[in-house]
Every structure is written in structure tokens, then in C-alpha cells.
Symmetry: C2
Subunit: 605 residues, 2 copies
């Protein structure tokens, strides 16, 4: 079972040396309190909480799972106590406004916190994680009464929240939502319908659960333009904030899932449950998706989390377990055999995990700064600023969510592979990581949906390729700055070629799609993965440049840390980045290679 340790050395490297978070925070309207000392203290405290409280109940939580009886859900042993500590530590409100009891820190710090907590125990982190979506929706679209009533206990963590979108007949295609909302004479609504896959939809951690629910008014137009958004509390809330009667929204069952078994996934039945409209009638989907970019980056974090945790499990095993002799001569002649880590293919596996974990972390932290600016736009009531940064973030969101969760799954499976047959056994905890990681490419929009969002919406429809040109422009500027550095030459050269290729591929697809609309869907998955590999290449080059500089200027504390960064970057460019070329070839394949088969000819028996 992996013993989680917070990767603070890497976090500090990224925050202080690669992305200059101190300067970034100093420039934010809500960054004043995020001084380097304060940030460091928060990270240290968060790391301790993760290592001592959350990690120890990760494997046991999986083995026990949640139980459902008489409409009530019991979380596994230790979850309630851990959640109490989470609330007592003020962790829920870290990045929420002080006026509602939060600590008012920038959103990025909340993301970094959730990365650590999620790595230690993803199932646990789902409970407060869902509250974020609920709080963000109320903050952005609720009226003052709603904010004052619901935000303080949510920010405190005394209550949690959910997002109720999916129904049995539809997940991605929310235009098919059927849940009904009947207006009442007092301005409230009565909701009737069934929602499924509701994470944290029912549990024993909090006094109340505030559901944010998509439903249709009686006169609503069909499809996505007829969906409204409602607040439906588990217990109604009196005007003074005290708890009222139980609302008829009940948990019908919880799902038996492959993984994240300590996270309760509820079927919720709304039987005339009282709801309060939030945002405008029939504008529910837009409101719900306001924070989609940050929610999806919150899921992208899972890719990094599971790559990291699996790596933390497989590395010590590779250092301790002895098998066979190195082909290049005995490495530990006094031992019965050489440790796994001497075998090149085991190193390939470990370095793949490391490259994905640390490369993905860099991508998340970079995007987190955009999210900070976007949130500042909201805080400052500056719609233009908000939209500018939300758009910039919007390009990276599907790349991060789509690519990093796939890589997290690969890394988690590699972790099992390093363990050999032992990886398949529950007690070692490695297979749990692979099962937990498996959900990440499915929820918050499958990889296929991310791919369509990236290529269809962000690249082609909204910007006609400009977002690719903009980002590659930034990458080329980086290349220009390092072109004369001998040790950076191979990165600069590869990235320069890739930037040209990325734009070329975009143009080719754009032209092809004019003739054949299905070209977009046909190319999308390969385009997403290609974009992911290239983006991660840039962030590895960025880390290499900083490491190179540190080592050249001498006096770097712990030079081996920077050396390892350079070596991992080299590994990434030599052995993972070539995959991008396979995707480049496939994405330009003729549409007919997918579409020509008659749907009734896929199988014959």
C-alpha cells in the first residue's frame, strides 16, 4: 500500500521557480494574503493533513465501501472523523470569500490543495469537491438571500453540496432531461424526477446537503433551451438559517462501482421536493456551465493525483524487490538478485509515471493561474476580464481533462505492472489506484466529449484555429528565448517543429471539415491526444529550462533535484513524445475509414 507523501519539493519548484506564484499572487485582487510564508504554511499543513489523516483511510475505505440502508448512506470507518477535522481546519473555505467565512485565498491554492488531498484519498475528496460546484453556482448566480442563507454553512463545510445533472436516459445529452419543476404560489417550485450518478448525493458527513438540480418548467421549450436550475436542500432551511423539515428528495440506492468505492454515488428521487430557482428560467444549462472549465480542471487533477500515488507505490517496490540480474552486469552482487530499478524496462515504466505526474502538475498549476484571473474577473465584477480569462482557460480545459486523465489511467496501470502479479492483489493498494483512476475519463465529460469540445468548439467553431496559434505563439517565444542555449537546443528544435505541425494539422482538419462535417468527430480524439503530448512537451521544456539555469548558475540547493528534472524531460522527449506523431497520422486519415461501415454490419454470428 503506497504511503503517501505530499510532493512539496515539486510543488515549491513549480510555484516559486517555474511559474512565479509570489508575483502572480501579488497581482491578484484577492492575492494580498497569499504571501510566500502564508502559502508555504498552508501547503505544509495541508500535506500533514493528507499524510496523517486522509491517506491512512484510503485503502480501508475502498475495502469497506459505502453502505446503504433505509435511505441512509454510511461512509466507511474514519471518514466522518476525517471530515470533521477537514471542517475544523477550515479547509473547505480556503479559496472562498471572507464575507461568507472563507479564507479568501486565490482559487489556485484550492486546486493545489485538492491535488494533494485527492492524491491521498480521492474518494474522500469527492465530498467537499462536489460542494465547490454547488458553491460556485450559488455565488455566481444566486441572489443575496440565497447566498446569505446557503453560503456560510457550505463554506464552513458543515453542509455539503451536489450537482444533479444526469438522469437514467441522459448524461452528456442534457437536452433530454425530464425532471419537472412546478411553480408554487409562494415563488418556490416542486421538483419531480430521478437523478442518477449523484456524487455525494447522500452521506453521513454533514448536517445538510444542498442539491443544485437541472429541471424543466411546465412551459419550457424542448431540448437544452428549456432547462432551469434549482436549489433543492435535503433539509429545508428557515429564514434564520436554522434547519426546517425534511424535503422529499430521497436516496433510492447507491451504485456499486468499479472504484472510488468510498465515495457515495446516489440515485436521487425527487417527489415534489421544494426547490428555489437560481439564475433565469430556461437558462439553467448556461448557469450550470459557468464553472465548467474549473470543474473540469478539478477532474484533470485526478490524472495527476493517480499518476503520483501510483508512482509513490511503485518506486519503493522497484527499489526493494529483487529479480534477475541486470543484462549489463550484476549491480548488487552481494544480494540474491538486482533490484527491479536496475532493469531498463522498469525504469521506462517508472519514468513514464514520473513524467506524467510532474508534467501534468505543471500543466495544472499553469492553468490554475488563469483560473485565478478568471475568478478575479468575477470578484471585481469585470465581465470582460472574466470572459477573457475564461476563454483562455477554455482552450486548456479539454486538453487537461482529456489528456491528463488518460495518462493518469496509464500511469496507474503501469504501477500495477511494476508490481507484477502482486499488483493485482488488493492488499498492495495498486489495483485500487487503477480502479479509482478509471472513472476520471468518464465523468465530467468523457474523453470523447473533451475531444469534441477542444476540436469542434474551442479550436474550430469559436476561434477558427486562433487558440492554437496563440498558444504555439507563446511556445515559440519560449523557443526564441532559449534558442542559443546549447543544452536546450533539442527541446527548442522539437517544439518549433511541433508548433508548425499543430497549426498545419488544425488547418488541414478545418479545410477537410468544410467538405465533410464528420471529419471533426473522426479527428477529435487523435487531435486531443496530440495536443496533450505537445502541451506537456512544452511544460517539460519549461521545467528543463529553469533546472538548466539553476544548475548553470551554481549554488542550486539540492542540484540532484534539478538534474532529475533534466533527465525526466529528456526521457519525455525521447520516449513519450514520439506518440504524438502516431496521432498526427491517424487524425488525417480519411473519414470513410470510420463511417463507411453500415451500422448493421459491425458483427456477424
Amino acid at each position: 500500500m503506497p504511503t503517501y507523501k505530499a510532493p512539496l519539493r515539486d510543488t515549491r519548484f513549480l510555484m516559486n521557480e517555474v511559474f512565479d506564484f509570489p508575483a502572480h499572487y501579488a497581482g491578484l485582487s484577492n492575492g494580498g494574503d497569499a504571501t510566500p510564508d502564508m502559502v508555504d504554511a498552508i501547503l505544509g499543513e495541508c500535506g500533514r493533513f493528507c499524510e496523517e489523516v486522509l491517506a491512512p483511510i484510503n485503502l480501508s475505505g475502498d475495502l469497506e465501501g459505502c453502505t446503504f440502508e433505509n435511505g441512509e448512506v454510511t461512509t466507511p470507518k474514519g471518514f466522518k472523523e476525517a471530515y470533521e477535522q477537514f471542517v475544523a481546519g477550515g479547509w473547505q473555505g480556503l479559496s472562498h470569500p471572507a464575507e461568507y467565512g472563507g479564507q479568501g485565498m486565490p482559487m489556485s491554492l484550492g486546486l493545489i490543495k485538492s491535488e494533494m488531498m485527492g492524491t491521498a484519498n480521492w474518494s474522500f475528496t469527492m465530498y467537499p469537491g462536489l460542494s465547490l460546484g454547488c458553491m460556485n453556482t450559488i455565488m455566481q448566480h444566486g441572489d443575496d438571500t440565497q447566498k446569505n442563507l446557503y453560503m456560510p454553512p457550505l463554506v464552513e463545510g458543515r453542509w455539503t453540496g451536489t450537482m444533479c445533472l444526469t438522469e437514467p436516459q441522459c448524461g452528456t445529452d442534457l437536452g433530454q432531461v425530464k425532471t419537472k419543476a412546478e411553480p408554487q404560489s409562494d415563488g418556490s417550485f416542486k421538483l419531480t424526477g430521478t437523478k442518477i450518478f449523484i456524487s455525494a448525493g447522500e452521506h453521513d458527513l454533514a448536517e445538510n446537503i444542498i442539491h443544485i438540480v437541472l429541471a424543466r418548467l411546465p412551459d419550457a421549450p424542448a431540448g437544452t433551451r428549456g432547462i432551469s436550475l434549482f436549489i433543492v436542500p435535503k433539509f429545508l432551511v428557515n429564514a434564520d438559517g436554522s434547519m426546517g423539515e425534511r424535503n422529499p428528495v430521497t436516496c433510492g440506492s447507491i451504485e456499486h462501482k468499479m472504484g472510488i468505492r468510498a465515495s457515495a454515488t446516489a440515485v436521487l428521487n425527487f417527489d415534489g421536493a421544494v426547490g428555489y430557482m437560481i439564475a433565469k428560467p430556461n437558462k439553467g444549462l448556461e448557469a450550470m456551465f459557468t464553472f465548467m472549465n474549473t470543474a473540469r480542471i478539478g477532474t484533470a487533477v485526478q490524472g495527476v493525483a493517480h499518476a503520483e500515488l501510483s508512482y509513490q507505490g511503485s518506486l519503493p517496490y522497484a527499489l526493494e524487490r529483487r529479480s534477475m540480474r541486470s543484462l549489463s552486469g550484476k549491480k548488487e552482487p552481494d544480494k540474491v538478485a538486482d533490484a527491479l530499478i536496475w532493469h531498463p524496462d522498469v525504469r521506462r515504466m517508472l519514468l513514464t509515471q514520473k513524467a506524467f505526474a510532474e508534467g501534468g502538475r505543471a500543466m495544472i498549476y499553469f492553468a490554475a493561474q488563469y483560473a485565478d484571473h478568471m475568478t478575479n474577473g468575477i470578484i471585481e465584477n469585470d465581465q470582460k476580464k472574466y470572459e477573457y480569462w475564461d476563454d483562455k482557460l477554455g482552450f486548456f480545459t479539454p486538453i487537461l481533462k482529456g489528456f491528463l486523465t488518460e495518462m493518469g489511467l496509464e500511469a496507474a496501470n503501469i504501477g500495477m505492472q511494476v508490481f507484477g502479479g502482486h499488483g493485482y492483489i488488493k492488499e498492495h493498494g495498486m489495483e485500487q489506484i487503477a480502479r479509482d483512476a478509471r472513472i476520471a475519463t468518464l465523468y465530467e465529460g468523457t474523453t470523447g466529449i473533451q475531444a469534441l469540445d477542444l476540436l469542434g468548439r474551442k479550436v474550430l467553431l469559436t476561434t477558427r484555429g486562433k487558440c492554437v496559434r496563440d498558444f504555439t505563439g507563446d511556445v515559440l517565444k519560449f523557443c526564441g528565448r532559449h534558442a542559443r542555449n546549447k543544452k536546450m537546443r533539442r527541446y527548442v528544435w522539437d517544439l518549433t517543429k511541433l508548433c508548425a505541425q499543430w497549426n498545419y494539422l488544425t488547418t488541414r482538419i478545418m479545410l477537410a471539415a468544410r467538405k465533410e462535417r464528420d471529419m471533426v468527430g473522426a479527428a477529435s480524439a487523435d487531435f486531443l491526444m496530440y495536443s496533450g503530448y505537445v502541451t506537456m512537451a512544452y511544460f517539460w521544456a519549461l521545467q528543463a529550462a529553469v533546472a538548466q539555469e539553476k544548475l548553470e548558475n551554481g549554488g542550486a540547493e539540492q542540484p540532484e533535484f534539478y538534474q532529475a528534472k533534466l533527465q525526466t524531460a529528456e526521457f519525455y522527449f525521447e520516449r513519450l513524445l514520439p506518440r504524438a506523431q502516431a496521432h498526427a497520422t491517424s487524425m488525417l486519415a480519411p473519414v470513410k475509414s470510420l463511417m463507411q461501415m453500415d451500422k448493421d454490419h459491425f458483427a456477424f454470428f
Copy 2:
């Protein structure tokens, strides 16, 4: 939950139209009874048994799992009855000699049987599957007394067998085996030690279990040269074949595994258990590995099985579930949304599963003919013949086992992906396939071990590249035969280039490995995957050639079947084969990109 249907149409296509099994069987010394009619009857009966008996207890077997109490293992509900039917049907002895009660059919038919049964219920198939290893070892290395005593009930299926290799401290590195065998005055031995991961090591399906055990004699040299092989029955067997007393080999526990949960994986404690030596002292490993190639192909089958089963689950879902509208216009305007199968990316997923399942099946059937010849060498007591075919098979074994199990895992995960969030829920059965498939890249030698076996042993050490030259020679002959067929041109051209590249890569690695021994391990995984993609490309081209001919000559029954073959081949070449190029690039990367990192610099906290 996928409803398994035996893919008899494809099996017949491969057996009768692609590989000409009737002629192949006619040329075997044990193929006389395998007339087309008889084969067809067996396949049909086997399919029915799989569909009606094995498939219905696949999901329930996973949910219930095996239970362990007081040293006894209980298989899930229905397994005992299914196993009784398996025995009654004479399925165990299908490919075993008539003199021991078998049906004497060629080995290939046994492999095809195990593909169908394994697809319907892999966990179930593990029980009789392990018996095969045991029977093969006794047949090849046992003396007549041992054969007469143990073979009949094993062939009947009344008893089952195991292979006891792994110990807590070693799996791959069997030189570390510690189990002791003390010679007794009566010529028997007493074995003491612990074996783990023993599939079918204890269960309630059979009267007796015959363990084949690796252990060391007291005076044995260290390492792999000091290992002997023993028969250790659970119940001792009297000279007349009747059951004697219980041997002190006991089940200490069974593993809690990620998947194949209905297959019992036992920890076996040998406390002075009576054993009988088989083969020569200290030659146990060689004897154990006699049938390694066929055993590993038996595991390669799992890749095909899980690709097929997952495809059989995801295809109907893609045809029935409706979500969004096709980007190229509404396809089912009278429905609330278009079926998933209209979306190009869903087709990409389905066709990937189909290409792996059918391409992998072709690879297995091809290798199965080699296995038939090899077995004929044994039957005819023709050591040279045996070795010739075993060597030929030996080149394909790691490709099939390594590549197909990885592809099976990918296909199983794709099956979940087609289901979206529903893929993560146990009741649909799709996540079980992914969990069951996950073991295949770990047991019978991990993918990394297959890669070393292929590149290090088969390609470089034993044949200095000749096995690649031989196989690509066959492929080029195929290309020559079809070079003038316009519709085959793209396959011929791609394969011709790939054959040249495969030999080039082999030579490059061979030269590099002379200077740096670690080049072999560094390149091995990419070399394996490259070899897999190219080999599968050949088998898709082969199928395409047959389909093309059928369609051209007109009069093909069910022309859409052949059309679909051509379309799948095209998909494979356009959208999967490009991955080979990524592996070609990575495998030539400098060794230092893997080896330069100090083992203590992989992580910093």
C-alpha cells in the same frame, strides 16, 4: 451485461477460408478425425455450452467470488454444476490422446475451444486451463506409471491440476525458489515450502488436485540449475488409481484480487507433502518450460477473449443508446437523439475493439497450426520436428502473449468508455471485463518479460535476427502475390515498407547492443509492441485478401461480412497501425534517457 454469442461466423471464416484448416488437419498425424463436419459439430456444441452454461454465471461469479473457510474453497454458485457439464461433455480431453480417454483432436481445436469458453467466462476456464499445463508436463516428462495413474482422471476432468512456480520472494526469477524436497527411502520426496498465486490451487470442483511443483533437492546447486519438478497430489493416489490419504499440502488463504474473482488463487503450504519426481533432478525448469509456448498462447487468447466480450457488450449499447445529434445532420430524426453509433469517435472505439478481437483471433489461429505441428512432433516421437515447430512458434509466442493481452486490456477499457459513466457500474458487466483482462499482462510472464524474451532471446541471442527475416520473408511473399491487385495495393505497400523497417530496426538494435548491453532492455517493450502492430497488420491484410477475392469472384454468401472485413482492415491500417511508428522512434532512443538517473534521484519530497 454482455450476452455472449459464440463468433462462429468469424471462426469458420478463419478456419475454412483464410487458413484452410481442413487441409491442415488432413496433414496431421492426429488430424484424421478432425473432419470438417466433425469440427463444425464440435464448434457448434461448444458455442452452445458457452452461451447457455458458462456466460450466464460470469457476472454472478464475479460478484460472489470464491470463499475460503477452514482451508476449503467454495466456488461461486453454479460453477460446480457447470463444471460437471463440462466434464460430462468430454470437453477437457478434446485434444488429449485417446489412450488416456481423450478425443485425440489436434491441439488447435483445444485452443479454439478455450477461446470461446474463456470469452464466455474466463474465471471458469482457468480451472480446466491449469489442468492443461499439468497434463502436458506429465505427458511429456512423466514415466509410464505416472501417465497411467494421473492422466485418465485429468483427461476426464474428474481431477484438475496446477502449476506451482511462484513463491512470495520470487515470480519471474525462479532461481530464487526455496521450497525444499527431501528424498525418502521409498523413492518419493517430502516437500516443504510455500507457493503463492496458485490458480485453481484449491476448489470444490474436482475430487483431486494434482500439483506440479518446483522445488530444490538438498544438494541442489543454487539458482535455476538446481530446481527439480514434482507431482504432488492433494490426495495421494493408490496404485490402483483409488484415492489415498490427504497429503499435507493445504490452502492457507486465497487472494483478494482485482478481477477473475471466481477463479481461486491459492496460497499453498507444503508441510512435508509427498511428491514424486518428474523429469531429471535439477532439470525441473527446462521440463516446466517445455510447454511454455503453448501455455503463453493460451494466455494470449485472453486478449482476444476480452476484446471480443467487451465488443459484444459495447456494440448493442452503441446501437441502442441515444445521445446528441450527428454533426453531419440528424440520422434518426424521429428519435429523441441519434444512436451513439452515428458518432465517428464511437465508431473509432468500436472498430478498435473489432480490429483487435478479429485480428488477434487470426494471429492465434495461425499460431495454433504451428502448435499442432509441434504436438505432432511429440506424438511421433520426432524430436527434430518438435524443436523445429517449437522454435517457429517461439518467435510468435511473446508477440501474441505480450501484444494481444495489452490490446485486450485496451479494448476492454474502450468497452467501458462506450458506456460512459454506466461503464463504471458493476451491473452492466463492462468494468468486470476490464478487471478480468487486467491480469493477462501480468501472469505467465509480464509484458516486460515477453518483450525481453522476444528481443533478447528469440531475436538477438538465438537467431541473430533470422526469425524476423524469416517472418518478413513470408510477408513479402504474400505482398508479391498481391502486388498487382489494385485493391490490395495500399496493404502491400505498407507491409513492404514495414518489413524493411522491422529488419532495419533489428539490425540497429543488435549493433547498439554490442556497445551497450542495456540497449536490449531499453528497446524491448517498444520492439514488442512494434512487432505486434506489424504482425497484426499482416493478418489483417491476409483477411482482406481473402475477402477481396470472395467479393470479386461473386457468389459470396453474405457479401456484407466480407465487406466489413475489408472495412475493418482499412480502419486498422489507417488508424491503429500508425502507432507502430511511435514505437519505432522510441526504441532507438539513447539508452541513457533511461539509465542515467541515479536510483536515489527518482523522487524528492
